[in-house]
């Protein structure tokens, strides 16, 4: 009734090929952005912003990165957490070497280092495919995680071996460090995520994205059609690692605020992000957000929501039950809709179009 494109005529090719061709979609997007930029910072309390929204944004960005690699290009990666770690350590090194530089610029620049490492570990992908490639990325995961501990230069030789996030001001407002307010950090995260999502959307809808999808569907056929596999696959690795690196820098600098980073970027995080991508929907940007929301908010909600509802649970039991529930839900969602939450969203929209008279 409300969601219907009747009467919206396209008179140009550009309008027809737009990412959001239906006006209601554009209004919806504007509402979501308005909620994210205005409603949440004003009405959300600090707890909600720091332990729900910021993790959600960080994981969304990492999931978008992995989705570019796994969902769009069809290369399975189990090393996302390590690439996130590269971003975090690069950002730390840069901000200690150049304390005067705007930290947001550095967070974005740290993605470049991660992209370079990603290309390096992406090289085997030209010869190895499928699950075999997963092991190549596991090599990246374990090797990089080992270097985070064993190369003291990375954490400036400090005794604890942890990243200490220094205070950095942007236009006089503390963005990182103990004095940064949750709202500021939230706005920085949100800004980065929105800009990079817009960038990713343009990338995957354009020529590059189409070549990635051709490689995913069948790389030999893509090669015969004139797509350079070397370029396409390595570019996918570079872009994916860039996103992961930025997400990692955001995770340490804007969310954790320092700490034992090597532990944070463990194999478990890699798996978690892979779950997000698959639960959300392979090859779908909005799916990355759905997946991140599902898997980052669910444990928090279980931890704090159930006791609030009067279900008594000790800390340890709650954790175990969360594990079981997540496992069960992963299987449930895969059975109900193997193409992820994004497909459910699409089906929902399709249903809405004909509602209330579907025949």
């Amino acid at each position: 009734m409300f969601y219907r494109e009747a009467g919206q005529f396209k008179s140009t090719y550009q309008a027809d090929m737009a990412v959001f061709p239906i006006r209601q979609d554009r209004i919806g997007l504007a509402i979501i952005l308005a909620i994210a930029f205005v409603v949440i910072p004003y009405f959300g309390d600090d707890f909600f912003i720091t332990s729900v929204m910021i993790p959600f944004l960080v994981f969304s960005l990492a999931a978008i990165g992995l989705n570019i690699l796994t969902g769009y290009t069809g290369l399975i990666s189990l090393g996302t957490a390590a690439f996130m770690g590269v971003g975090a350590y690069a950002c730390y090194k840069m901000t200690t070497l150049f304390p005067g530089v705007n930290i947001i610029v550095l967070i974005l620049a740290s993605g470049l280092f991660s992209a370079a490492i990603g290309v390096l570990f992406g090289l085997p992908s030209l010869r190895i495919k499928g699950f075999y490639l997963a092991v190549a990325t596991l090599a990246a995961q374990f090797f990089l995680q080992w270097s985070f501990v064993r190369v003291p230069w990375l954490y400036n030789y400090n005794a604890s071996g942890a990243i200490e996030v220094p205070q950095r001001l942007v236009f006089g407002v503390p963005v990182t460090g103990a004095l940064a307010t949750p709202e500021t950090r939230y706005f920085v995260c949100l800004g980065i995520v929105v800009v990079l999502t817009w960038f990713a959307s343009n990338l995957v809808h354009g020529k590059i994205g189409r070549s990635w999808m051709a490689v995913r569907d069948m790389d030999i056929a893509a090669e015969l059609m004139g797509i350079k596999l070397l370029n396409a696959k390595l570019l996918a690795f570079a872009v994916s690692s860039f996103y992961a690196g930025v997400a990692g820098a955001m995770m340490i600098f804007l969310w954790y605020g320092g700490g034992e980073a090597a532990d944070a970027f463990s194999i478990r995080l890699s798996f978690n992000i892979l779950f997000m991508v698959i639960i959300g929907g392979l090859g779908s940007l909005i799916g990355s957000f759905f997946g991140a929301a599902f898997l980052s908010i669910l444990p928090t909600a279980m931890k704090f929501g159930l006791p609030a509802l009067g279900v008594p649970m000790a800390g340890a039991t709650a954790e175990h039950v969360t594990f079981m529930l997540i496992g069960g839900l992963i299987i449930f969602f895969l059975i109900v809709e193997p193409h992820g939450l994004a497909r459910l969203w699409q089906i929902g929209k399709q249903k809405l179009r004909t509602w209330p008279f579907p025949y």
């Binding site: 796994t70 399975i76 085997p124 010869r127 190895i128 495919k129 499928g130 699950f131 075999y132 997963a134 092991v135 190549a136 596991l138 090599a139 374990f142 090797f143 995680q145 080992w146 501990v149 064993r150 069948m218 030999i220 056929a221 015969l224 194999i267 798996f271 892979l274 779950f275 698959i278 392979l282 340890a316 039991t317 954790e319 175990h320 039950v321 969360t322 594990f323 079981m324 529930l325 997540i326 496992g327 069960g328 839900l329 992963i330 299987i331 895969l334 059975i335 193997p338």
Partner: protein, 357 residues
């Protein structure tokens, strides 16, 4: 005649063996160059010093190889579970590692409840059978014909579920494996060879023997029984197997149960060496390079891959690890596998990957 002339010269570099030979030659050349450097040079430390040490203390070398061998056997056992399931159902079963932990925990948990040791083993087998049936009913059957990655993810779901279930039923604390009650030997044998002492843990010897026996039994089972024949048929082609009246669902239950048995034995062995805890999960990830090395579909490949990874890892850690700060065991296995993969993308014994448009 003309087409013979037009045929391009064979590209020698395309042959993996030639490439391997060239690289080997390069290493030898580098080693010779290195030996000409003084004995504190980096090349010397990488290429000469470790071999020097090996020659100087052969007993240490034997000890290292033995330890690698034993670790390799256990990797191979985990990989074996993967291969069984991959062959029969095409599922890349990530949950194999957690099945090892889960079965070992169930065994110890049952024993702690007062069940006699051998009855506990039988009961655990019952639990593994139940698990196999449940997985087949709840997870595999609805997901038939989905892409590989979806099934792979589903086994992740199983992993999470089993971690949660195991921890909430048996608690997260490490437990002692009931090795004595199962008449597994304890202690060590000291062998005097090559002018030194080599210590062999009896449990390791037992592990190697039991693993070999189990592999032999599995081979016989696959080769000579009716069910084994059906399993091989399913591995060859699902459709052909279905068309001659083999029930896929039944085969899947059997194969997951077999993997469960393998998991239990692995769990007992591994638990007897250290203790039973969820840390084993990370160890199970080591089975991945083993698999890759051997090829996903080959049982001998899993075993040989396990041994190569186990020995390579221990030798690398012992002789080359100190050069870059130690602890390289955590990633060396993956790099060894990666090195092999660059020459044989399907693993040492895997089916050749043929791609068609």
């Amino acid at each position: 005649m003309s087409d013979v002339a037009a045929r391009p010269a064979p590209n020698l570099l395309a042959n993996g063996w030639v490439k391997a030979g060239l690289i080997l030659a390069a290493i030898v050349v580098a080693a010779v160059v290195g030996s000409r450097l003084d004995s504190s040079g980096t090349l010397y430390k990488i290429f000469i010093d470790p071999f020097d040490q090996m020659a100087a203390a052969p007993d240490l070398l034997v000890q290292t190889i033995w330890e690698g061998l034993v670790t390799g056997v256990l990797y191979a056992l985990i990989a074996l579970g993967f291969v069984l399931i991959f062959k029969a159902s095409g599922v890349f079963n990530f949950a194999q590692g957690i099945m090892v932990v889960f079965s070992a925990l169930t065994l110890v948990g049952l024993y702690e409840m007062g069940v006699p040791a051998f009855l506990a083993v039988i009961l655990t087998l019952g639990v593994m059978f139940l698990l196999a049936v449940t997985i087949e009913r709840v997870v595999l059957r609805p997901l038939v014909n989905q892409p590989d990655i979806i099934l792979f993810m589903a086994t992740f779901g199983i992993t999470y579920f089993l971690i949660g279930l195991g921890e909430s039923v048996f608690g997260g604390n490490p437990k002692q494996m009931i090795a004595e009650q199962l008449y597994l030997p304890k202690g060590a044998i000291d062998l005097k060879i090559l002018g030194g002492l080599v210590t062999l843990q009896k449990i390791d010897i037992a592990a190697a023997i039991i693993a070999s026996v189990m592999i032999a039994v599995l081979a016989l089972f696959f080769q000579y029984t009716r069910i084994g024949r059906a399993l091989r048929a399913v591995a060859d082609s699902h459709k052909a197997a279905l068309s001659v009246g083999i029930s896929l669902n039944q085969i899947w239950v059997i194969v997951w149960f077999t993997a469960g048995i393998v998991a239990l034995i692995t769990g007992i062995m591994w638990g007897a060496r250290s203790d039973v805890s969820f840390a084993l999960e990370i160890v199970a990830l080591k089975a991945l390079p083993v698999l890759i090395l051997g090829g996903f579909t080959s049982i001998p490949g899993a075993i040989i891959g396990g041994l190569i990874i186990g020995i390579g890892e221990k030798m690398g850690e012992f002789y080359w690890g100190p050069l870059i700060g130690g602890g390289i065991e955590s990633w060396l296995a993956y790099f060894i596998a990666l090195g092999f993969l660059l020459f044989r993308p399907q693993g040492l014994f895997g089916d050749k990957i043929i791609e068609r448009i």
